[in-house]
């Protein structure tokens, strides 16, 4: 009996120590609430009602250019952008896999921009995608496949190992969002209203290699199979970003792939005029991403394609969903009107 109590006491001490460690760890890790807010995007999905018929997956070319609220307003489509900065194809694959553990959309739209990268780009980008993911098999997969040489798996398990130096840089944000979070997107869409027109573009560089890496095809195959196995329509898209340059050589490879696999590919760069995008006012960063007016044009255009070709539900007529979107639209419309 006495021995049991001793063991129990030791266990309590160890648990308290781990709790203290977790609290300190939480304090020093970035909150992504008002700075580097992109690091919080991945987690904004978890609190959602999982009723999306369309899921967008990819990098900034998704979360800056597609506004799910416009898809809903135009055609009653429910959708969410699961986008993170510089999202790599194996990350997209794991994020899709994770999404399918929550819900089964009718359509998955994947940004093909990620195919340009066949190895991890930097720890900074990894952190923005991974830090705020819920623990799951997919998170473990993403960490293991994304780590650069200098990173360790343990630093993702124990953020204190990575962020202990932030101890001296803690701000009010770290206290305010210690047990709280701040949502910065509208169903995954990052609203930017500034205007910075396209003026001078840098020289179009020759590349060392235009061939997508084998690993990219491996994960693209995985995504394709995942969609086919779940009876989901997969659409590959290239956002209408005029910089960084998108090359003919890339397009040819994607066209070959979709032809072989019976998938649809839309390169929005080819139909900029048809969409109505005006790069003297529809971009906030000289053509890399669309601003609100540009994203609205693209989203309305895409909503019609989705509605016409994919038999999606008009949720504006469905009471429980429209009630949720009524609140979402109030917040969205308010943000649209704010200076």
């Amino acid at each position: 009996m006495k021995k049991g109590i001793k063991i129990l006491k030791v266990l309590v001490i160890v648990i308290l120590f781990i709790m203290l460690l977790s609290a300190v760890s939480r304090l020093v890790e970035p909150k992504y609430a008002t700075e580097l807010i992109e690091g919080h995007f991945i987690s904004e999905y978890y609190n959602e009602e999982k009723n999306h018929e369309v899921i967008f997956i990819g990098d900034c070319e998704m979360y800056s250019n597609i506004s799910p609220m416009e898809l809903y307003k135009t055609e009653g489509i429910t959708s969410f952008v699961r986008g993170t900065p510089q999202q790599l194809i194996w990350q997209s694959s794991a994020i899709l896999e994770e999404t399918l553990t929550y819900e089964k959309p009718k359509v998955v739209v994947l940004s093909v921009n990620c195919l340009k990268y066949d190895k991890p780009v930097s720890e900074a980008y990894n952190r923005l995608t991974i830090d705020k993911m819920k623990w799951s098999k997919q998170k473990v997969d993403i960490i293991l496949s994304s780590m650069t040489e200098e990173e360790s798996f343990l630093s993702y398990v124990f953020p204190l190992l990575r962020y202990h130096a932030r101890w001296e840089e803690l701000t009010q944000e770290d206290i305010k969002y210690l047990f709280d979070s701040k949502e910065n997107t509208y169903n995954g869409y990052l609203m930017e209203k500034d205007i910075r027109p396209v003026e001078n573009l840098p020289t179009k560089r020759e590349l060392s290699n235009y061939q997508f890496g084998d690993i990219c095809y491996t994960y693209l195959d995985k995504i394709t199979k995942l969609c086919k196995d779940n009876n989901i329509e997969l659409i590959l898209v290239k956002a209408p970003s005029v910089y960084p340059y998108w090359y003919e050589e890339y397009d040819k490879q994607i066209e070959n792939y979709v032809e072989k696999n019976g998938i649809r590919y839309i390169n929005f760069l080819d139909i900029i005029a048809e969409i109505g995008i005006d790069y003297s006012k529809d971009t906030y960063d000289s053509g890399m991403h669309l601003n609100l007016t540009g994203a609205r044009k693209l989203s309305v255009y895409f909503a019609k394609i989705l509605k016409n070709d994919y038999n999606l539900t008009d949720f504006r007529d469905i009471a429980n969903v429209s009630a949720i979107y009524k609140k979402k639209l109030e917040a969205y419309n308010k943000a649209v009107l704010e200076n």
């Binding site: 001490i13 510089q86 900074a124 980008y125 650069t148 190992l161 840098p202 060392s208 910089y243 960063d285």
Partner: protein, 168 residues
């Protein structure tokens, strides 16, 4: 008394483990910083050495009105590409400085300090830089420290040259 000793031992062991890992992590960071300072490929503009990773503002470069600016996806601040007649320089913000990420040479008027310019042959390149390169499609890539020097070719002729900082 025994209980107290056991608890102290457990706490000390845990603290040593955590502290040790933190220390190893710190050492890795400082080793990485040292590596960044090691030898790199160097480009020259008007006699000034241009090293990848250095602060662009430390250099006295010619004026250009062709500067492409864009918000960085992963860092606070603006990424910039300065376009000159014969080359482009791209920078990203880091700790209040404009870190040079790459220099892209697209015209034959500009040469590397080793004398190779756009329009020279692959043989010229090999004589200047040796044969310790990797190839990718139509490119020859030399690596030194945290930088690469890439020669893109069209047939046997160099069509562009790029100095790049290897991402952290």
């Amino acid at each position: 008394m025994k209980k107290g000793i056991i608890i102290v031992i457990i706490v000390v062991i845990l603290a040593v483990i955590i502290g040790g890992i933190v220390l190893i992590n710190s050492n890795n960071s400082s080793n990485n910083a040292d590596a960044m300072q090691s030898e790199t490929f160097i480009f020259k503009i008007n006699g000034q050495e241009v090293k990848m990773g250095q602060n662009l503002l430390d250099l006295n470069l010619p004026e250009t009105s062709n500067v492409y600016e864009a918000e960085s996806c992963a860092f606070d601040g603006i990424e910039k590409t300065y376009t000159y007649d014969n080359y482009d320089i791209t920078t990203c913000p880091e700790n209040g400085v404009e870190k040079i990420l790459n220099v892209y040479i697209s015209h034959g008027e500009e040469s590397t300090p080793e004398g190779i310019r756009v329009g020279d042959t692959v043989e010229d390149m090999k004589q200047a830089y040796g044969e310790d390169f990797k190839t990718a499609d139509v490119s020859y890539i030399y690596t030194k420290g945290h930088t690469t020097l890439t020669f893109v070719t069209n047939g046997d002729v160099i069509s562009s040259i790029e100095y790049s900082l290897i991402a952290d």
